[in-house]
């Protein structure tokens, strides 16, 4: 992959982050038919994972929290649920960053899969505790997100460093 070595300015990166989240949120709420709605990947969380891994200077716990809150509002889940899960996931990325020094495509994908698993598990546990419900469809959505994550990587590869 021939990615240029030029570093992006702060403004450009922040703009890219904001725009990518706006696009991801619109993909997240786009009405789908009843059959395909369960296959919908968690686009916002996928994009969040990308930025957490590749731009830790600009995104961190607070970004995860805010994006989680926005996702809560858009998806009509209880306020704070996805925010909690997203912060837990951000912590996993931070811990991983201590041990991993160099990241290849496959490694990033693997880390993203772990993140998605953590996110969905935390969400499941929170829903069990606070609402006493279990939504198995979340698993399908998680697997779809895992499968589609390289697409996010491909779309945003300019900002990998």
């Amino acid at each position: 992959m021939s990615s240029s070595d030029s570093t992006h300015s702060n403004f450009e990166i922040v703009l890219a982050i904001v725009l990518s989240f706006i696009l991801a949120s619109s993909l997240n709420v786009y009405p789908l038919s009843l059959g395909t709605a369960t296959l919908r990947p968690m686009v916002m969380i996928m994009v969040l994972i990308f930025w957490l891994i590749f731009q830790p200077r600009h995104t961190g716990l607070f970004t995860a929290f805010i994006i989680g809150l926005i996702a809560d509002l858009l998806l009509d889940t209880r306020l704070g649920q996805q925010a909690f899960a997203a912060v837990a996931m951000a912590l996993v990325v931070k811990i991983a960053s201590i041990y991993i020094k160099q990241l290849r495509t496959l490694g990033a994908w693997f880390l993203a899969c772990v993140c998605l698993l953590v996110f969905q598990s935390v969400l499941w546990i929170l829903q069990m505790i606070t609402q006493n419900t279990f939504v198995p469809q979340g698993g399908i959505s998680m697997l779809m997100s895992m499968a589609c994550w390289p697409l996010v990587l491909l779309a945003l590869r300019r900002y990998t460093h």
Partner: protein
């Protein structure tokens, strides 16, 4: 390969714990006082409106292309079929006219109130809501077609639900299969009253508050009784699938199959009060005139127009469906 090196950032456990606690406090507040967050939720739904608007395009395109691609032969065949269906429907209507006239006479004798008259607006389901826990779909008709919060939506077989949010060209429909929805029904065979509640899945309903001693059988049809004041009387709701008398409770455990098709309905009908529709049109005309005069900013058009309705209804069926439990549901809660 991506030549990326993690930038070392300090692992701030304290900050993480603080943020997690804030999230937990928010969750707690939302579970105790969900109405506090209604303004934010309605704003976020209004922000989603342009995306819904955008999602109308594929259905227009599909409609256009199907109009172009279909062969003459298949259209002719469909036409013949539809004509025969129309003749059958008209034949049935003849009898219904007679029954309606008789009904009106009898009601005149009993001096009861006249049943309400409704206009039917055809709408298309353009998608589901994003939350799998909620039974909400998006329709392609909005304020500009006279849709209002609280209007009942049916398909050709039975009741689907009621409208909870309206936007200029789209609206959101909460199905009766949602856990927060209840419909007052009567058993068609015996006239017994009961309340149907959603289970959160598209193919299940539950019939509540039927005593063990009452006469209820598998296969009994249930029609809306109109007692809640929201959903008009006389529309099919479901059919009893299973009755379990062996429960330690006073009431029977009854499962119901909904009459309407919740899985793959693409066209639905919105019941609109004849008088209110005209009033709504008038209000819309005035609003557009005012907008033309004042040159209102575009943002104003994105706001949900709940306030156009009578305020009591708007309060009860605000943006958040969590606050929607109808009057029957409230009474159900208290008697539990």
């Amino acid at each position: 390969m991506i030549p990326s090196i993690f930038a070392r950032q300090p692992l701030s456990i304290r900050k993480t714990a603080a943020v997690l606690i804030v999230a937990m406090i928010l969750m707690w507040f939302d579970s105790k006082n969900p109405e506090w967050f209604n303004p934010i939720r309605s704003t976020s739904h209004a922000a989603m409106q342009p995306i819904y608007e955008l999602s109308l395009l594929p259905s227009y395109a599909a409609h256009w292309s199907s109009g172009r691609m279909e062969s003459k032969e298949s259209l002719r065949r469909e036409n013949v079929q539809l004509k025969s269906e129309l003749i059958h429907a008209r034949a049935k209507l003849q009898q219904q006219d007679y029954i309606l006239a008789q009904n009106a006479r009898l009601q005149g004798i009993l001096s009861t109130t006249r049943p309400e008259q409704y206009d039917l607006t055809l709408a298309q389901v353009i998608g589901t809501d994003t939350n799998p826990l909620k039974q909400i779909v998006v329709l392609n008709k909005g304020v500009q077609d006279g849709v209002k919060v609280g209007q009942t939506v049916i398909d050709e077989k039975g009741i689907l639900g009621q409208v909870i949010n309206v936007y200029p060209n789209t609206s959101r429909l909460l199905l009766i299969t949602d856990e927060l929805q209840s419909v007052a029904v009567t058993v068609k065979r015996t006239g017994q009253r009961a309340i149907i509640t959603g289970e959160g899945t598209p193919a299940d309903l539950r019939l509540n508050y039927v005593f063990k001693t009452s006469d209820v059988r598998v296969g009994d049809e249930l029609v809306s009784s109109g007692l809640g004041g929201r959903i008009p009387a006389g529309y099919a709701v479901g059919r009893i699938r299973y009755v379990d008398p062996d429960q330690g409770d006073n009431f029977m455990h009854i499962e119901v199959t909904p009459a309407a098709n919740f899985n793959d309905n693409s066209y639905v009908l919105i019941l609109q009060d004849k008088t209110s529709k005209n009033a709504q049109r008038q209000a819309m005309l005035e609003a557009t005139e005012a907008a033309a005069l004042d040159e209102l900013p575009v943002v104003g058009a994105l706001q949900p127009v709940d306030s156009l309705d009578n305020p009591a209804l708007a309060n009860a069926t605000g943006a958040d469906p969590a606050t929607l439990p109808s009057t029957q549901d409230a009474s159900a809660q208290s008697s539990r």
